[in-house]
């Protein structure tokens, strides 16, 4: 009987022993941060793991804040944080596989609203009180009224609309191909919100920039072919195109070396130097610099390290490389000065893919 008592006591205690082991921390939900002078690192996270985040590097204090959005707002960003754009002191964070855009105050990161009703959002650009979101699955551009954050229109474009640029009420959309291929840049008249045609470029245009001369540059990644492996016989190499946004005409075209799949076209603050990543796998590459008046493509990389994301500080011309050692661990940011000398490296979230300067 005594033994039985001991057993009962032990048994009845067990749940409590284990329960005390997993007390939950209830931390305060909204703690605004000062994010008015710094760099946001967009960490997309691993597909299906919902561990995308934003890391903030303060240029005032040098302090690095991990997982900024969740820390400030009390809930995670979601699955595949694709990109972020700042417009009128608001940050528009696109969470691709959570099919949403989180709107935050870009100076303290407090959440304002969630824009839903999207299928596979990728990038955001804005002009005045209108925002434009490219959407891979619907192959269209969603028009958002930025006063109400409601979607007011959907404009059909090519396959897998990716990055966009607005020049004089015309929206230029790179159609990267989505789950297939495309080789066009769609043009939308923003006054009438209609698709007015396309410009033919190389296969799978993935990024676009406007230079000091007012010309558009479109970087095409090419294709790794049906085997998804770069450097094999079925590859189509990438290319760089210059478009006149007034005439919609191609003015220059540069073809990359065989099996080169460039991506992440960036431009410096003065608009006279383009940067991109050049590699074979279609996802990463070494940093290449191309002055907009150059007549040939660079052969030697400026920085001989394979990055997943690239950023050029608009004020200092410093180069930021996002390094992904694996999609199941934290990534790193390597900071270089404008002459490509390594200054420091910082651990950030999982899979950093781009930078936003505020």
């Amino acid at each position: 009987m005594k033994k039985l008592k001991i057993i009962f006591v032990t048994l009845s205690l067990l749940p409590f022993i284990f329960m005390s082991a997993c007390k939950k921390d209830e931390s305060a939900k909204t703690t605004p941060a000062n994010t008015s002078n710094g760099i946001f690192v967009i960490n997309e996270g691993a597909f299906g793991a919902a561990n995308g985040s934003v890391t903030y590097i303060s240029l005032n204090s040098g302090v690095v804040t991990e997982n900024l959005f969740e820390t400030v707002n009390g809930f995670p960003l979601g699955d595949i944080v694709q990109s972020m754009t700042i417009h009128n002191n608001k940050g528009y964070i696109i969470v691709n596989n959570s099919q949403k855009v989180e709107v935050v105050n870009s100076n303290d990161f407090t959440g304002i609203q969630t824009i839903g009703g999207l299928q596979g959002p990728r990038f955001f650009v804005a002009n005045g009180t209108k925002g434009y979101i490219s959407d891979w699955f619907s192959n269209s551009i969603a028009v958002v009224d930025l006063n109400t954050n409601a979607i007011t229109n959907n404009i059909a474009v090519g396959n897998g609309p990716e990055q966009m640029k607005i020049v004089n009420n015309a929206l230029f959309v790179t159609n990267v191909g989505g789950f297939g291929n495309d080789s066009t840049v769609s043009i939308i008249n923003l006054l009438t919100e209609t698709n007015i045609g396309t410009v033919q470029v190389g296969i799978n245009p993935n990024s676009i920039q406007k230079d000091i001369n007012g010309k558009l540059w479109v970087l095409c990644g090419g294709s790794t072919g049906p085997d998804y492996i770069g450097g094999t016989a079925d590859d189509i190499q990438g290319s760089l195109w210059q478009i006149n946004p007034a005439t919609f005409q191609v003015e220059q075209q540069f073809t990359m070396a065989f099996s080169s799949h460039p991506l992440k076209l960036q431009i410096n603050g003065t608009g006279d130097e383009l940067f991109y990543l050049s590699g074979m796998d279609g996802y990463t590459g070494k940093v290449m610099k191309f002055p907009v008046n150059a007549s040939t493509l660079p052969i030697q990389p400026s920085i001989n390290k394979d990055f997943y994301g690239l950023g050029i500080d608009p004020l200092t011309g410093g180069i930021l490389g996002a390094y992904v050692p694996g999609f199941s661990q934290n990534g790193f940011v390597f900071r270089y000065n404008s002459t490509a000398i390594l200054m420091d490296s910082i651990m950030v979230g999982v899979a950093p893919n781009s930078f936003v300067f505020n």
């Binding site: 009987m1 033994k3 039985l4 057993i7 048994l11 067990l14 749940p15 284990f18 329960m19 082991a21 997993c22 939950k24 691993a46 597909f47 299906g48 793991a49 919902a50 561990n51 707002n73 009390g74 809930f75 995670p76 979601g78 699955d79 595949i80 969470v95 596989n97 959570s98 099919q99 949403k100 959440g111 609203q113 969630t114 839903g116 299928q119 699955f137 789950f179 085997d227 998804y228 796998d281 279609g282 996802y283 990463t284 997943y308 992904v324 050692p325 694996g326 999609f327 199941s328 661990q329 934290n330 999982v350 899979a351």
Partner: protein, 641 residues
């Protein structure tokens, strides 16, 4: 290579001849050593855990994943109720664990692993978990555990048994199955028909979206139906034949991550498994020949992500086994296994084939009473690569009579990359190296005495796995496998069972606890060094499980609690999921009239309404209920055979 072939054949011939010449006279046969399947007989150095009926009774469902997570301390990686679930025993991955049905490994030849949600537990009479490595006996890769599904030996008596099981619960849960068993002195037949479904539209707080609303899980239903037919024939007292047919279709919707608004993904698995076996009892030996054909089809479609695929695998498996009882002390077993698997997937460049022939030899030696030693070997030849010679050694013995026993084992394991690991597009890695591992274990256990003392077993285990294959997420949403240079697993496991009887009240207690460190110990690249020494993702260090049972007067009350420790979700251990504990409870009443047997049960799942996730952002239901009715009828023959 030819030399090794030769060695095995000679070995086989010697065994056969020894049996013929030396033991012409009838001596008492080791009845256990005949009937026991080789997985169990030749893994004496491993702890065997019998999954009993009270575990099955307190499990929230009827598939192997739910039952194992109720009654063992192995981690079951379950995505959602009714969703796919894989086994991770002692810090291993799913492919390091084998599930055997009629002695055939159910691990998919393409995936290299087994989805436990596709295995209903009621198709077999007994479920035994062999804890730890038993590679040469149960397939080269079985480093973590082996689950053995087997039927009771046929009695060949003239009686009939009809069983009906109906259960219904919250979220549209329904289970119905019929078991019909009949036979005479020559034939015994068992038929199982089943149908299950659930909506799984449970409510949960979605903490991942603004304002954290309470929402309903969507696109989470499943439907599962099938049949099992088992036939045993006794041709004469020494010739036995067995035929089994298993057909099943499992349709399920795949729910979205909590961070996604919706999902439109579905998956349908259809499988047909045929197996046949012949057993010849000779005076001092047993010959077993068996063969099987497995056809497995999987269809996946996601209209939202615009992706779909179809899998079709066909496998022919066969095994020849010859067991000789050299003396009361030595049992020798040898034979060969042949497996031919073909997989046709859109996602492979071309259809793939894996042909494997293995020779095995196993020795059970009992030099003195209650001491048993196993020495096992396997040599496999395949169409892709010839793995090395795989040995293992195990022992079990009494140290203090009626008080303390000891057991232990050591063995090598070798795992070729699966067809998906190599050829799946995108992601497959044709440069993958095979895994090569050694595993060791040593343990003690107390003997079940007369004094109603608890039976306790404790085991320390260790293994080093070279070139551990790890699927990791990559760019563009693609997952891809790679070799980790070396993974080191170490830990301990303890099992306690206790039975006590006071007058008409019976108490049962079973506790299981596993502590495991499973971490990368050596890395290939500089950046991987960040992950060296870090616990592998989704390997909880601590798992505890307990079942407490009281029976009285036809009533039984069951309480089950599991605790699952922190699971890291990134390989540098920078993020993790909270530990959780879940409790289930069952009250059952048995009513018996003559040969009728009614069982009424009421179950409460997740008694304390815990909000938890096994896998990140995959919600699980809160408290829910089910009621069940079991009906059993035995019809015994009036005439004695």
């Amino acid at each position: 290579m030819k030399l090794k072939f030769g060695f095995f054949f000679i070995f086989l011939i010697i065994i056969i001849n020894t049996a013929k010449c030396q033991f012409a006279d009838t001596v008492l046969l080791h009845t256990i050593n005949i009937s026991e399947i080789r997985s169990l007989l030749f893994s004496k150095g491993n702890h065997h855990l019998q999954i009993d009926s009270s575990t099955i009774a307190s499990s929230p469902g009827n598939n192997l994943a739910e039952v194992l997570s109720t009654g063992t301390s192995i981690f079951i990686k379950a995505y959602s109720p009714g969703g796919s679930a894989t086994i991770s025993a002692r810090g291993t991955e799913a492919r390091h664990n084998a599930v055997l049905w009629n002695g055939f490994n159910l691990n998919s030849p393409s995936l290299g692993l087994c989805d436990l949600s596709l295995i209903p537990t009621f198709i077999s009479d007994q479920i035994t978990l062999i804890e730890g490595g038993s590679g040469p006996v149960n397939g080269n890769a079985a480093l973590g555990s082996t689950v053995v599904l087997e039927n009771d030996l046929p009695s060949f008596k003239k009686n009939t048994n009809i069983g009906l099981n109906l259960e219904t619960g919250c979220f549209g849960n329904f289970h119905g199955s019929i078991k019909f068993k009949t036979g005479n002195k020559f034939i015994e037949s068992k038929t199982v028909l089943f149908y299950e479904r659930a909506e799984n539209n449970f409510e949960f707080v979605n903490s991942t979206i603004r304002d954290q609303p309470t929402v309903k899980e969507q696109n989470a239903s499943f439907k599962n139906y099938g049949l099992l037919q088992n036939l045993d024939f006794k041709i004469n007292p020494s010739n036995f034949l067995n035929i089994a047919i298993w057909y099943q279709t499992y349709f399920r919707e795949l729910p979205p991550l909590m961070t996604s608004t919706s999902s439109a993904a579905i998956q349908r698995d259809s499988l047909l498994r045929l197996s046949g076996g012949y057993k010849l009892l000779l005076k001092k030996s047993v010959l077993k020949i068996k063969a099987a054909y497995f056809k497995e089809y999987q269809f996946y479609n996601d209209t939202k992500l615009n992706s779909h695929y179809e899998y079709l695998t066909n496998s022919v498996l066969s095994e020849l086994e010859y067991r000789v009882f050299i003396s009361n002390k030595i049992t020798l077993n040898s034979g060969l296994t042949y497996i031919n698997s073909e997989a046709a997937f859109d996602e492979y460049k071309t259809s793939q084939k894996r042909v494997s022939t293995s020779f095995f030899a196993e020795i059970l030696y009992e030099p003195i009473e209650q001491w048993k030693f196993n020495l096992n070997f396997r040599k496999e030849f395949t169409n892709v690569e010839n793995p090395p010679f795989i040995p293992s050694f195990g022992f079990e013995g009494v140290i203090i009579k009626n008080t303390l026993n000891a057991f232990g084992n050591i063995g090598r394991h070798y795992n070729l990359p699966s067809m998906n690991d190599l050829f799946w597009r995108p992601g497959g890695n044709e440069n993958l190296l095979p895994e090569d591992a050694w595993g060791e274990e040593i343990g003690i256990s107390s003997a079940a005495g007369k004094n109603q003392l608890p039976v306790i077993s404790f085991a320390l285990f260790n293994s080093n796995v070279k070139n551990w294959i790890k699927w990791q997420p990559g760019a563009g949403g693609f997952y891809s496998p790679d070799n980790l240079r070396e993974v080191h697993i170490s830990g301990f496991e303890t099992n306690v069972s206790y039975t006590h009887k006071i007058k008409i009240v019976n108490f049962n207690l079973a506790l299981h606890y596993t502590f495991v460190n499973s971490a990368i110990s050596k890395s290939y690249t500089a950046f991987e060094t960040v992950t060296v020494g870090k616990q592998l993702i989704y390997v909880p260090q601590n798992i505890f499980n307990g079942i407490f049972n009281i029976h009285w007067n036809g009533y039984s009350l069951n309480y089950n609690q599991t605790f699952t420790g922190k699971r890291f979700t990134t390989s540098d251990n920078s993020s993790s999921l909270d530990p959780y504990q879940v409790s289930n409870s069952t009250l059952e009443k048995v009513i018996t009239f003559n040969t009728f047997n009614f069982r009424l049960n009421f179950k409460v799942m997740n008694l304390f309404n815990t909000s938890y996730q096994v896998i990140a952002y995959r919600p699980m239901p809160g408290r829910w209920y089910s009621v069940g009715l079991k009906f059993d009828l035995k019809i015994k023959s009036q005439h004695k055979n």
